[in-house]
Amino acid sequence: MNIILGMIGLGSAFVSGWASAQATAADRIPDTMEARVQACTGCHGAQGRGVENVYFPRLAGKPAGYLYNQLVAFRDGRRKYVPMNYLLAYLPDAYLMRMAEHFASLNPPPLVQPAVARSPELVRDGQRIVTQGIPGKKIPACVTCHGAELGGREPGIPGLLGLRADYVSAQLGAWRFGVRTALAPDCMQVIAASLSEPEVAAVSAYLASLPVTAARPVRQANVRLPLACGSEPQQGGQP
């Protein structure tokens, strides 16, 4: 097998050598992930920082496993948004993982959001749900999984800071109606389907009211989460 792997390696070295010999210095394309993901940063902002448009969220600093799961879900149509489905349709797993790791490793300063006037009652209701859950509906507090500082949890749970209210509300709605699905068992589908519309509005308003801090995804082994989630394997399996 070593000989064969060696042959394959030689083959690819030959191909890349041939390609660079064709290009003059001025025409050379940087052999970097940054150059390769220009198709992403056009919408999601330089370094995946996020942009004014609420529906192009920040990618930088989210756990690589989470980003990878989203890329695969878009590619395979489990998460529906036509421009993303189209863009990723013919990209292999290994490359999507490289993209995910690339954005996970970045930490550009967050976009400063203009202040939005919100009803204090709505924000207070949202804070209660985010920090205490809704015991009567068996909905756990968001912070249990997404981290006490809402910075996310490795490998598969995203941070919730810096998301605008319309985006959070749209994602919960998409989960409820099956337009966004995660790996089974899809814990967020269970949660989104149990939330009432006012509860969704409250959670969205509260999350959007929080300042973006330096909180990073929690790294913690052997934590028992309240719901089984395909995106966050409990036994340390692959994301």
Binding site: R75, P83, L87, L88, Y90, L91
Partner: protein
């Protein structure tokens, strides 16, 4: 996804092994084929019939229709929207109840060759039997052996959802009379072995004519000539003529550029995108260098029905076009030139040239408009596993701006395309972007 990745990984491993033809390949083959289906290899260096069938099934791109992305291989039920309703490709795993587990190799060959199921009904031509009829019996048997070797999946195939009168299969008799000529590929003794191999793959398993119908014009029938290039129904992509050097005719391409385009997905002349990206991703990237080269030799030799577009561009004549050209040039300089170059030469091979690029200037403007609206990544292939992508501009540029920039690239640098209107952009925007 795991199965599809596994499938791809195994296929990647199989090709270099087959090429090296060392005994090291044998144990790996033995591990990957289920014992029940495997025939003992007479010569240890020969890839097994199952391996050959796997390769040929990739050449035929069976997976594209018979597997829902992320689902178990060949379990079928992928929806194929058509202007007549939605077709669902059947389960072709060896499950006896819901797949083709009860078929014989004769049944399979007859289906491929005649477009009739073992129960005798006529297949809808979404199954490209008009191409597959050219496949040899030996190749058909190998594909069947491979299909028998994949894990059976018990999953009933959905009924087609076709509107009246298309739901009546007897209408297919008329279609078959017009468009179906049964018969295996007959080599042209006046041509090389390589050319004939290419013709066999392009006309047969490759079923290229399904989209690029002008290949039918090789038969010389004027009726068929009407199909030179055309919009692919429901997909809103234009499949260029393969016989016109003003479109995708390859007469003036270097052979290596054709090989790169098909197998690697990027080349010094252009990049595959849209439905062709799927063909490279599922099929062409896994084909041997010899086979891709043979296809390139055949495609390059297709007779050209029009000369290449080589005249220098005239200055746009009409005032409104002149204005669009000027506006387009401004947008191009700001948004496009950093990758495609001020003179449209691109940065090869990853940022394709736009100057003298046939797919920019051809009669239909659908493809260049869609590229600007939707952007795109070339497929990730064995030879180009981490492609560079183009951002979408639908969210940034309005219909007038996109019409202007596409008008500019279609008429600058010697390109001879017609100007584009905002209305054309708007129709594609609403058809392809939510």
């Amino acid at each position: 996804m795991t199965l599809r990745s596994l499938f791809r990984t195994l296929a990647c491993a199989a090709l270099p092994l087959a090429l090296l033809a060392t005994s090291a390949g044998v144990p790996l083959h033995a591990q990957t084929k289920p014992a029940a289906q495997a025939k003992p290899a007479a010569q240890p260096v020969q890839p097994s019939i199952v391996e050959r069938g796997r390769y040929l099934a990739q050449a035929g791109d069976c997976i594209a229709c018979h597997t829902v992305p992320g689902a178990k291989i060949f379990s079928g039920n992928r929806a194929m929207p058509t202007p007549f309703g939605t077709l669902y490709a059947p389960n072709i795993t060896p499950d006896r109840e819901t797949g083709i587990g009860s078929w014989s190799a004769d049944d399979f060959y007859n289906m491929m060759h005649t477009g009739r199921s073992p129960k005798g009904y006529l297949l809808y031509p979404a199954m490209p039997f008009a191409s597959y009829t050219k496949v040899t019996r030996a190749d058909s048997d190998a594909i069947f052996a491979y299909l028998r070797s994949v894990p059976p999946v018990r999953l009933a195939s959905r009924e087609h959802d076709l509107r009246f009168p298309y739901n009546n299969r007897s209408l297919l008799i008329g279609w078959r009379t017009l468009y179906f000529k049964e018969g295996e590929y007959q080599p042209d003794r006046g041509k090389s072995v390589e050319w004939n191999r290419g013709a066999y793959l392009v006309q047969g398993l490759g079923h290229c004519a399904m989209c690029h119908t002008p290949i039918n014009a090789l038969g010389g029938s004027s009726q068929e000539k009407a199909f030179q290039g055309g919009l692919i129904p429901m997909q809103n992509w234009y499949a260029p003529s393969l016989t016109s050097n003003r479109e995708a005719g390859l007469g003036d391409w270097a052979l290596q550029d054709i090989v790169d385009l098909l197998q690697r997905g990027v080349s010094n002349r252009g990049t595959v995108y849209g439905p062709m990206a799927e063909v490279t991703f599922n099929s062409l990237q896994f084909m041997s260098d010899e086979d891709v080269r043979a296809m390139a030799v055949y495609l390059k030799g297709l007779p050209a029905d029009q000369g290449p577009a080589s005249d220098p561009a005239d200055a746009p004549l009409r005032a409104d076009v002149g204005q669009a050209f000027t506006e387009g040039r401004r947008i191009y300089a700001a948004r496009c030139a950093s990758c495609h170059g001020a003179e449209g030469r691109g940065k090869l091979p990853h940022y394709p040239p736009l100057a003298r690029n046939q797919s920019i200037g051809m009669s239909s403007a659908v493809n260049p408009i869609r590229m600007v609206l939707n952007g795109g990544y070339p497929p990730g292939t064995r030879r180009n596993p981490m492609p560079y992508g183009m951002p979408p501009f639908a969210q940034d540029l309005n219909d007038n701006e996109i019409a202007s920039v596409v008008t500019f690239i279609r008429t600058a640098w010697g390109n001879r395309g017609a100007p584009v209107t905002a209305r054309e952009v708007n129709q594609l925007r609403s058809a392809t972007v939510e």
